[in-house]
């Protein structure tokens, strides 16, 4: 797409030791991040970790207190208009004009990028097809379902054929069918050469979409890499989940599973092991005939995420 007309930049976004304070609160703390061209990078982190602030600094609506941000090789704060004309952003909260139809919303938004007829209508039509909005293209947005509205919000951010697409929690609150459709569209865009930067709380989403992920906590990147590598490097391949008391845990696992390979949430215990079969046998022996329900599953990104960011909810308050 646009990559042909400018010199090829291998790094689309580069964030270098960027910090941002809001009053006394340090939202982003000398954060580093790189998004290579034509890849999908996932920014993962608990609520309040600084993901949205990082995105806002990347598209230049929040100014960092220190550090530099380059997008398409240019300092965003000096080349605001030219950089923004080449990127698209889907905000966490939809910003739609509810009294107007999807078609009209797309045309209004296209004008923000100075698109004119006939390109304006042609591009709107393409996106209506691309995101399956055709059946309700002329219905006022306020009458549309949440999934429809979300698809429209994503369509808006594609009006200018962005080389970089920034998606802030694109599928939060959507039903599984809509999520599947959106994932497939995002993959299509990425295959066609769009660079994608996405934040999400859903680890399955990150695992399916992202070439690389960066886990953010308290305004810093605490780990980054290919999802599969992150799992292999951090934890054992199998996860065993069951309910047990603290005393049972002591009796069962001490000297058997190291403390940093256990994750407890209330009664629930998750253990990361190389050999689940041996562990299950041990539990069964301990239980003597009484068979407590045990789940065995492959270790996933969510486990890595939780082991890194913790399970306490304190930061939310």
């Amino acid at each position: 797409m646009g990559a042909t007309k400018t010199s090829v930049v291998s790094t689309i976004v580069s964030v270098e030791s960027v910090s941002k304070k809001f009053g006394e609160r340090l939202a982003v703390d000398s954060l580093d991040l790189e998004v290579p061209a034509q890849t999908c990078l996932g920014l993962l982190g608990p609520n309040g970790a600084g993901k949205t602030t990082t995105l806002r600094m990347i598209y230049g609506v929040t100014r960092p207190d220190s550090g530099t941000i380059r997008v398409f090789g240019k300092d965003i704060n000096q080349h605001l208009r030219s950089v923004r004309s080449r990127l698209g952003v889907t905000l966490q909260k939809n910003a739609l004009i509810e009294a107007l139809s999807p078609k009209e919303n797309l045309r209004v938004f296209g004008r923000y990028h100075l698109l004119r007829e006939p390109e304006l209508s042609r591009r709107a039509g393409e996106l209506i097809d691309f995101l399956d909005l055709r059946s309700h293209a002329d219905v006022p947005v306020r009458q549309l379902s949440g999934g429809f509205q979300r698809r429209l919000a994503i369509a808006l951010s594609l009006m200018n054929r962005p080389e970089l697409l920034i998606l802030d929690e694109p599928t939060t609150g959507l039903d599984p069918a809509v999520r599947l459709v959106l994932w497939s569209r995002i993959r299509e865009l990425r295959t066609a050469g769009t660079t994608v930067l996405i934040t999400t709380h859903y680890m399955d989403e990150a695992q399916r979409l992202c070439d690389r992920v960066a886990i953010v906590s308290a305004g810093r990147v605490i780990d980054a890499g290919i999802p599969a590598d992150l799992i292999v490097n951090r934890l054992e391949p199998e996860t065993v989940e069951f309910d047990c008391t603290a005393q049972e845990e002591l009796a069962l696992l001490d000297g058997f599973v190291p403390a940093d390979r256990r994750l407890r949430v209330g009664q629930r215990l998750m253990l990361y092991v190389n050999d689940a079969a041996t562990l299950i046998e041990r539990i069964r022996r301990y239980d003597r005939g009484e068979r407590r329900p045990i789940i065995v599953r492959p270790t996933n990104l969510e486990d890595v995420f939780l082991s890194l960011t913790g399970t306490s909810l304190e930061r939310d308050s």
Binding site: F22, T62, R81, N94, A95, A99
Partner: protein, 255 residues
């Protein structure tokens, strides 16, 4: 300055796209309002007033009401409507993801407020002309006063709207600022016949007084040098207030 006309126009067109949806319903009150005023105050109250400022009461009232219409048109736009766009519709958050900058938003919104005030004031003027209350062609000068009134009240309203923490404060703006202006700006009675000289100096600070005087001059066709002061007041106040508004827009849209 980083205003870019095409981007400011894109902001204007957003509002125009919405208005095009609803203009048929929006524009009707613009025609009824002047009719009600003319009947109630002009013809009703006017029946007990033999003359005012050297003319019939209806003739005295007409030019000022055009300015009031223009003031109201701009004021609604830059108070309630802009607040809805800012807080509920998140329109500016969306614009800030595109090449549009805060200065473009300000320019587009001011242009739109002027447009709305011209629709209000223009409708009022048409009604007056139909009733034979707008002497032609001299009163056509008022068509220049209307957008200037829109500009001034867009600037005043924006400074207020962008600095208040909650939408509830708009009622103060309307009842404690616009209503007294409406009542004491030469619209209903000639200030110079009722106020002592020192108070007349104070009255010069009232922003609605100046467009009303300009409108009255257009309707009578008598242009005295004081209209230069009126024009100067309106333009310089608009520019100063827009510079203040510009700061606030930046603070509200970026951080």
């Amino acid at each position: 300055m980083s205003v870019s006309a095409p981007y400011a126009l894109a902001v204007w067109r957003r509002n125009a796209a919405l208005y095009r949806r609803t203009w048929k319903w929006n524009i009707l009150p613009n025609f009824f309002e002047p009719v009600f005023y003319l009947f109630s105050i002009g013809i009703g109250v006017g029946a007990y007033v033999s003359e005012m400022g050297g003319m019939t009461y209806l003739e005295f009232l007409a030019p000022g009401l055009v300015c009031v219409a223009a003031m109201n048109g701009a004021s609604f736009e830059v108070t309630y409507n802009i607040y809805v766009r800012l807080i509920f519709e998140k329109a500016y958050d969306a614009m800030m993801t595109t090449p549009i900058e805060p200065d473009d938003v300000l320019a587009g919104e001011v242009l739109w407020a002027i447009t709305r005030s011209s629709i209000y004031g223009g409708c009022f003027f048409i009604v007056l002309a139909l009733f034979g209350l707008a002497p032609l062609p001299s009163s056509l000068w008022v068509l220049l006063v209307i957008p200037l009134t829109g500009l001034l009240f867009a600037a005043i309203g924006l400074v207020f709207s962008l600095r208040i923490p909650t939408i509830d404060l708009f009622s103060f703006y309307f009842t404690l600022f616009l209503t007294p202006l409406f009542l004491f700006s030469d619209v209903f009675f000639p200030l110079e016949e009722r106020l002592a000289q020192p108070w007349l100096w104070v009255a010069e600070a009232l922003p609605l007084l100046h467009p009303v005087r300009l409108a009255r001059a257009s309707f009578s066709g008598e242009f005295s040098p004081v209209i230069l002061w009126d024009l100067f007041y309106m333009l310089s106040a608009s520019v100063l207030l827009l510079l203040l508004a510009r700061q606030s827009v930046r603070q509200r849209l970026t951080n």
